[in-house]
Symmetry: C2
Subunit: 369 residues, 2 copies
Amino acid sequence: MTILSPKPYRLTVDLGERSYPIIIGSELLAQGEALRTAIAGRQVLVVTNTTVAPLYLHRLLQQLQGYTVATVTLADGEQYKEWQSLNTIFDALLEHHFNRDCTLIALGGGVVGDMTGFAAASYQRGVPFIQIPTTLLAQVDSSVGGKTGINHPLGKNMIGAFHQPRLVVADTATLNTLDDRQLAAGLAEVVKYGLINDPDFFLWLEQNIEPLLSRSPDHLAYAIERSCRDKAAIVAADEREGGQRALLNLGHTFGHAIETGMGYGSWLHGEAVATGMVLAGRYSHHLGKMAHSDLQRLEALTARAGLPLEPPATLSAERFMALMAVDKKVEQGRIRLVLLRGIGDAYIDGAVDEGALAAWLQETLPSPA
Amino acid sequence: MTILSPKPYRLTVDLGERSYPIIIGSELLAQGEALRTAIAGRQVLVVTNTTVAPLYLHRLLQQLQGYTVATVTLADGEQYKEWQSLNTIFDALLEHHFNRDCTLIALGGGVVGDMTGFAAASYQRGVPFIQIPTTLLAQVDSSVGGKTGINHPLGKNMIGAFHQPRLVVADTATLNTLDDRQLAAGLAEVVKYGLINDPDFFLWLEQNIEPLLSRSPDHLAYAIERSCRDKAAIVAADEREGGQRALLNLGHTFGHAIETGMGYGSWLHGEAVATGMVLAGRYSHHLGKMAHSDLQRLEALTARAGLPLEPPATLSAERFMALMAVDKKVEQGRIRLVLLRGIGDAYIDGAVDEGALAAWLQETLPSPA
């Protein structure tokens, strides 16, 4: 139903003077022209991690000949998304006497992108940065929106900034080295865009989930482009997350509870979001908002993508409620949920009846082990 | 020549949707109405330090009855303007489960203001903050411009954000507890605004320096208001420091060299800036840009304000040049200086002849001890 293009896609995230392009295609790391155009001065700091560096750093550095280039290689993992790692980026910038005209490049997944972006936002009160996301999750999620930051021992992503990149390059070839579990976790966020407000895309995903799982570059590029476009439309309308942008939290309130409850790293973010979306769908159906047939489509696609449908049996309903209450989406003391009227029709419920939600969780969750 | 007003001054820093008022007057801490109007939600974190807390915290807290209020009291001093102190603010925000609708209030000098502002810029990617500066320097400098941040072992103010306050309250009564040296250091920045582009204000300062030094509330309020207005006009034209805003660095390139060379805390920032402005004036005169009579006026006012004219004898010309070279105002490898054509007529020299500057420093500086 959709003609796939072998050429790189190019879309613009429209944010006025902070607008920037996203280029999506295969083997883009071998073509440095767009990259060089987006670099402001002559000084470049590449931030990557120990997993990605041996795979792709050399290829990137080949495109940066003639620049003063320094590299920071961070340890790989969400647990390193904190101040100490961030500070190694500042150390490198200052040791190399990098000035306000330097450019930071993030080569890696969401953790590298979030930390590099926050370092760029904060170094000398703001320098440019470029994102080269190497995971599907980062390509479809952190590519758009300008959210950057680090974790605090008392909460995830609690310290950060909105800072838009100059350019995002999503090279589908970097997904060939991603393990299956990470690929599926990325697909959870792709499915999310269909669920929120793009029913045609959801249908396309139902028809094309197998080529996506087998990493067809054309199918991946199409799904990434459409995801970024869907997210960009929401972000452009609400850059600083006052209203409609909260739709992007579909599956995240339940999902964060699972992630936090199980300890970071046990469930992947995308896996927790997938289950979170299923729970949002089930609760929406329970409230009489969404038809059973739509819930079945959601559950079926989630299962086909290799993603978990059921929350962990070790989390009780009480613990779930407590974890959701500390979630930062709690506004003025109330839990806010993104719910569904159907596939492609999400809405924000700002007045959740917590007693009803707790009772439903009690009924629906597996008994704690 | 100027009629002084006993009523509070109120001026607006005009930055579009980020515009905010500055209220200047005596005993404003006893009037909490403006403050309460500017507080967004119900949660307030007051950040202060061990010097200011015993003097003014109680008075502020009296104005905040009915709010959920937490307090962080930092150690006093520039050496504490770093990550560990900043993190105690984040710890408090998270321990109290403060959400995105909380408001931070900075009660203290520039260090407290810069750190609180950066904490507000970064907490959950940005929450509102209010400044209650309690030093003259903070009232006339950090009140306007939105610069926030912390120091890094390798450089001052290297990590931060532009984040505008919701409101600034400058209570001249808080200056009664400021020691004479701190008051004079604040006057250095006041003199700077006259020097940059407000010759009438410079003349007013020449005629009113004694009542300022004896802390006449009306004279102080007038000087603070005019300083903020002068700075606001420059900042409004150039919020992110691309061009004319660099004029505000008058005296700072030489001054930072003195501060860094002598170790933070030995010279006060304002003292170093005062000497830096004298050096900028002398070099401008040496280059044939400024008349000798104007240089004499600058030196005379600096001396009458109790500020140092001569740089420390322990800094050699070579060390001075090396310290200026690492200053962040070095753009693309060149030293940028703000120089003077006369009183009230500063300009940016982006093409400083470093050989000539070094030779002049060699001649003009006192011989190293």
